[in-house]
Symmetry: C2
Subunit: 253 residues, 2 copies
């Protein structure tokens, strides 16, 4: 107990007028705040921690419950107790889910602002990747997604309208794009290629994400394909790296 | 033929002293160079392209073969002919492969320079994530990977030595880290959490990757676990986004 890397935090003072479970939760909270216990850190098992601190498991549990209620720790059945990440960590590099799907499955509340939604003659590289013939138009949808912390993602989506006529009239402030394509138009979204790189924020990207010009921003480019092999959607997405980290849980085999 | 978005490129001139297949390959090459046909663009089918250009399939094939030999196009059996990406696009967001494994499976030649390899008292967040007890040491391995274009990735790996005693004596200029852990030490690497974000390059990162201070760099943080659930390795990796893009091919279901 009390050595530089024990899990126990500061020693317990039984003569202080502060409940022991509060001393424990205060110590753990300080370690999380200092970064000594980083996001995803797994605490020692409850019996080991209780023994190390010289307290009962009931006292330890009370301290853990306090921190779980505060959102600093979370327990995963069969795996243990972990430090919660303060970052939104969507698994969009690993699964073909959308940011909005990932947010709602994690219980994160987001708001979406539709900045523009119109039919356009697509830029030529986009027309090529979407296999849009000469004179074809696509819907260009520009949105900003925010959490209570502020803007997290600025999205440009280009969608073929031959497979989804009238889609430009949908209110995308309250409806998801993939949901509309799959639900309303009955399209079978099958696969996508996503690439990730770092860019310097410029112009509208910096302004919308509320970061300085030139600051690093996570850029994601995507082409989405239907089950019949035809491309349906191309997107450019800029992500605020200070608020959202793309995460993959990967298996070796 | 000749309209602004046909796949045919410039019209064929049968009266020019340039072979028709060369006119076709020149036209396609110009579209690739201009970005009008971006990386991963799928060309129309050979029968459609030949009909549009008004040439035989044999002539078209000869033009395609020229561009395939130049590395500008590639054919994927059953899927078609695609514009090659000039970027290295490892699937490290999708698979728990390492950069070196991904490079060698794609036939990309890389060199590795070991900048340092030593036993250290780990930084506390690293010790916590690796579950290294007080006083434990880890191997810190610092490497720079380059292709013929220049540096592409600067890597810090922290490896638990209790599972791999003596690993600090391995020559990592010629040996892969995962290969050593799995082959020499018989460890079963099972899973990893990888997070991706954009950072501004600073100090040693900027210097090693040969990019200006403050320029955007793709940052990857990873914790790797063995089949027994114990963490074995933590890494920080900084990727030159101008030379390498992290790519995922994802399925919806």
């Amino acid at each position: 107990m009390g050595d530089s890397k024990s899990d126990g935090g500061s020693p317990i003072h039984r003569d202080l007028p502060v409940a022991i479970h509060s001393q424990i939760s205060d110590g753990f909270r300080a370690r999380i705040a200092s970064g000594e216990w980083p996001a995803h850190y797994r605490l020692k098992s409850e019996p080991d921690l209780a023994a190390e601190l010289g307290v009962s498991r009931g006292t330890l549990r009370r301290a853990l419950t306090t921190l779980i209620d505060e959102g600093l720790l979370r327990q995963v059945r069969g795996r243990g107790t972990f430090v919660t990440s303060t970052m939104i960590e969507p698994a969009i590099a690993q699964k073909l889910s959308t940011l909005s799907e990932d947010f709602s499955s994690q219980g994160i509340e987001t708001t979406t602002r539709v900045i523009s939604c119109e039919l356009i003659d697509p830029p030529r590289p986009v027309a090529a990747l979407l296999e849009v013939p000469a004179g074809g138009s696509v819907m260009k949808l520009v949105r900003l997604r925010s959490t209570e912390q502020g803007p997290v993602a600025f999205l440009f989506n280009y969608v073929r309208t031959d497979f989804a006529p009238g889609i430009e009239d949908v209110d995308f402030a309250s409806t998801s794009l993939f949901g509309t394509l799959e639900g309303r138009y009955g399209l079978r979204i099958s696969s996508a290629r996503r690439t990730f790189s770092a860019q310097a924020a410029e112009g509208e990207v910096a302004a919308q994400l509320d970061i300085p010009e030139g600051a690093p921003v996570q850029y994601l480019e995507q082409v989405t394909y239907l089950a019949n092999g035809r491309p349906i959607e191309y997107s450019d997405v800029w992500i605020h790296s200070g608020r959202l980290r793309v995460t993959s849980m990967l298996s070796r085999r």
